[in-house]
């Protein structure tokens, strides 16, 4: 028995070594062929391996950021586990990761806890990833790539609350006089897992629809209308599978589905990165956020600003102002600077379809990043 274990272990190890030597760990050389890789951040290159964890919504953007970051800091190894906002923040609060990505700002409790982990001060959150949430639908003859239906917040709320059950309901018809709507049942599709996308969508519905939406705000879907599906991928594939479905998902995943143009002021605005950035710009910061350096956006869902799209997911990066390890502090500072730089935001926009932050927002954030002590 001993022998056979030994033989097998040798076989396995030599197999792994062979694989490794053939492919040199299989790392793809970073795609820095883009001529736009001009580094305007004047920080010295960071080396070492660092990890973060958190929101899966940021995943596509973070993958692009890691590739871009390693282009200018070839000796840094960065890993991101899209384990979810909650798991990401708890891991960060144990000190196991350098930063966390989260779809929600820190709670007061978490800010308090962070004082134990950070070398000094409290952890702070800054927005890094802004992405429109699209209300997607699949309706034969009506939906298609780039096709939209007009709806106001109240209609959306009533559909997702099961009060409007037919596609040719007057509430929808009156807003879309030119569209031939079929007499078909509406199947609502929502997230079945706990999710920041749900929370952001619900907070829009709650703020904008008034009495039409009576549920408490949370990360879980509150009613039992329609169907639940796991993750953005689950929602999109469920919506694709049947006629007459409507759901909400990160806009970059909308693909060939029809989307809803939301009523803002007097007009209807289809989702777009610029429209999403606009609403964030016109929204105030949340003053009730306790602790230093925190930049928390309080989305103004009732905005009447022309061309602003109000259903938006704002995802944060969470970091400490000081770390026990100076190298980590250096990394976090240069990582956050890169991520929130114009270059970083453009990288995310092309890789994940997110909305690049405006200059005004970036200025607010820069102050917090500067507060990170690297010595």
């Amino acid at each position: 028995m001993r022998n056979s274990i030994l033989v097998r272990s040798i076989a396995a190890v030599s197999g792994i070594v062979m694989l490794a030597s053939v492919a040199a760990c299989g790392d793809n050389t970073t795609a820095s062929t883009d001529a736009s890789a001009k580094s305007d951040t004047k920080t010295e290159a960071v080396s070492g391996s660092f990890s973060g964890a958190g929101a899966s919504s940021q995943q596509a953007a973070v993958e692009a950021w890691i590739a871009g970051f390693q282009g200018t800091n070839p000796d840094a190894k960065v890993a991101y586990n899209p384990s979810g906002s909650g798991a990401g923040v708890s891991t960060f609060l144990t000190g196991a990761t350098a930063w966390a990505g989260s779809d929600a700002a820190l709670s007061d409790d978490e800010v308090e806890q962070s004082k134990k982990v950070c070398a000094s001060g409290n952890a702070f959150d800054i927005p890094v990833y802004i992405s429109p949430i699209a209300v997607v639908f699949n309706l034969q003859g009506v939906s298609g790539k780039g096709k939209t239906l007009n709806m106001d917040a109240e209609t959306i709320a009533k559909i997702f609350d099961g009060k409007i059950t037919k596609w040719n309901d007057n509430a929808i018809k009156s807003q879309n006089p030119k569209v031939d709507l079929p007499d078909l049942d509406i199947t609502v599709v929502h997230r079945s897992d706990k999710s920041g996308t749900t929370k952001n969508f619900l907070s829009y519905v709650k703020d904008a629809a008034g009495d039409a939406w009576s549920y408490d705000l949370g990360e879980n879907w509150p009613n039992e209308v329609g169907q639940g599906a796991k993750g953005t991928s689950g929602v999109i594939s469920t919506v694709q599978q049947a006629d007459g479905t409507i759901g909400y998902a990160d806009a970059s995943q909308a693909g060939n589905l029809g989307t809803v143009a939301v009523k803002v002021g007097d007009g209807y605005v289809p989702f777009s990165a610029e429209a999403a950035a606009k609403v964030v710009d016109s929204s105030p910061l949340d003053d009730s956020a306790k602790g230093d350096n925190r930049v928390v956006v309080k989305l103004d869902h009732n905005t009447t600003e022309k061309g602003a799209y109000p259903i938006v997911l704002v995802s944060y990066d969470i970091a400490c102002p000081a770390y026990k390890d100076a190298n980590t502090a250096k990394f976090v500072k240069s990582w956050l600077s890169y991520v929130t730089s114009d270059e970083g935001q453009q990288t995310a926009a092309s890789a994940a379809g997110s909305a690049p932050m405006s200059d005004t927002m970036r200025q607010k954030i820069a102050k917090s990043i500067d507060a990170i002590e690297t010595k």
Binding site: G86, S195, E224, G228
Partner: protein, 317 residues
């Protein structure tokens, strides 16, 4: 074996080695007990805030999980438990008859060569990872099976459990049960097959000699002999279905009801899938709650398997 010649030269020494070896073997036996106890203890330890912690915070966490529908642990875990048992029982019902049929086919109907190949095929089913069943179920089976469920709802809708309208897409308890049935089928089949193959030849031949048809022979000799084995195989299959995570997670549209409307979406959820879907976004206390539900699941599977073993032990003694 060549080892005989070698051992013959060994001196009669190693009393100590003997003792050590026996000790190690004994320790490993005991370790099984320790491991099982450790599983229960570590889970209990991590779920402790649920019992010993701040009850207000607990009910807040739970109401956060359920959108205010449940505030106590038991009202949270109750529907989950109901859904878990419902879905796995249905899966067992579907898969039981098919499995016994296949097992009989392999053991008594198919020619020997074919039977060997068929055994491999069935074992192959067992080898497919659950995440692949999840992908297949969610992307292929769900749209494909809708017309069938729609038909069922139309013509059998007067039976309460088949009450329509059938959900489209059919991410329902019925569809998940079918997928789980496919997943536990190889387990039940291979165990039943082994039992059927052990039916005493004499009894079979006696039955045939008396003029029984093949089916009568099976009914008189094979099935009574294999009864307890088939029951324990089914219980084992049930245990597997109770704990299945990924396939349920990727297919089912969940809900927290005590409901048996199989063809409608958002009715039930299983404990395992619920843990997987809530875990990533849960905070510390939330994880404790989820581990608490995991502990309940552990106890349920423990009881199911325990009962199954006791049944067979009695039958074989």
């Amino acid at each position: 074996m060549s080892s005989q010649s070698k051992t013959a030269q060994q001196p009669v020494s190693g009393k100590n080695a003997d003792k050590v070896f026996k000790g190690v073997a004994y320790a490993c036996g005991i370790l099984i007990l320790v491991v099982l106890a450790a599983v229960a203890l570590f889970l209990l330890f991590r779920a402790w805030p649920l019992i010993g912690g701040d009850q207000k915070a607990n009910s807040d966490t739970i109401s956060n999980f359920t959108g205010g529908k449940a505030t106590s642990f038991w009202s949270y875990v109750g529907p989950l438990l109901f859904g878990t048992v419902l879905i796995s029982t249905l899966a067992l019902l579907i898969s039981f008859f098919v499995s016994v049929g296949i097992a009989l086919f392999i053991s008594h109907y198919a020619p020997k060569k074919l039977a060997t190949i068929l055994s491999y095929v069935v074992d192959l089913l067992a080898a497919i990872p659950s995440v692949i069943y999840g992908l297949w179920g969610g992307l292929v089976l769900v749209p494909a099976i809708y017309p069938f469920w729609n038909w069922v709802a139309k013509y059998l809708g007067w039976i309460p459990i088949f009450a329509g309208p059938a959900a489209n897409p059919s991410r329902t308890v019925a569809t998940v049960s079918v997928v789980l049935a496919v997943m536990i089928l190889p387990i039940i089949t291979s165990m039943s097959r082994d039992i059927f193959l052990q039916t005493p030849r004499l009894q079979e031949e006696a039955a045939l000699a008396l003029g029984a048809t093949k089916w009568e022979m099976v009914k008189l000799a094979v099935l009574p002999f294999g009864k307890s084995g088939v029951v324990s195989a089914s219980m084992l299959g049930l245990g597997r279905a109770l704990g299945e995570t990924m396939a349920v997670l990727m297919i089912l549209s969940p809900g927290l009801n005590y409901s048996v409307k199989l063809l409608q979406a958002s009715q039930n959820q299983t404990i395992a899938a619920n843990i997987a879907s809530q875990y990533p976004e849960a905070n510390d206390l939330g994880v404790s709650v989820l581990i608490g539900t995991g502990l309940v699941l552990f106890l349920i599977t423990f009881v199911v398997n325990f009962v199954a073993r006791k049944l067979t032990e009695k039958a074989s003694a």
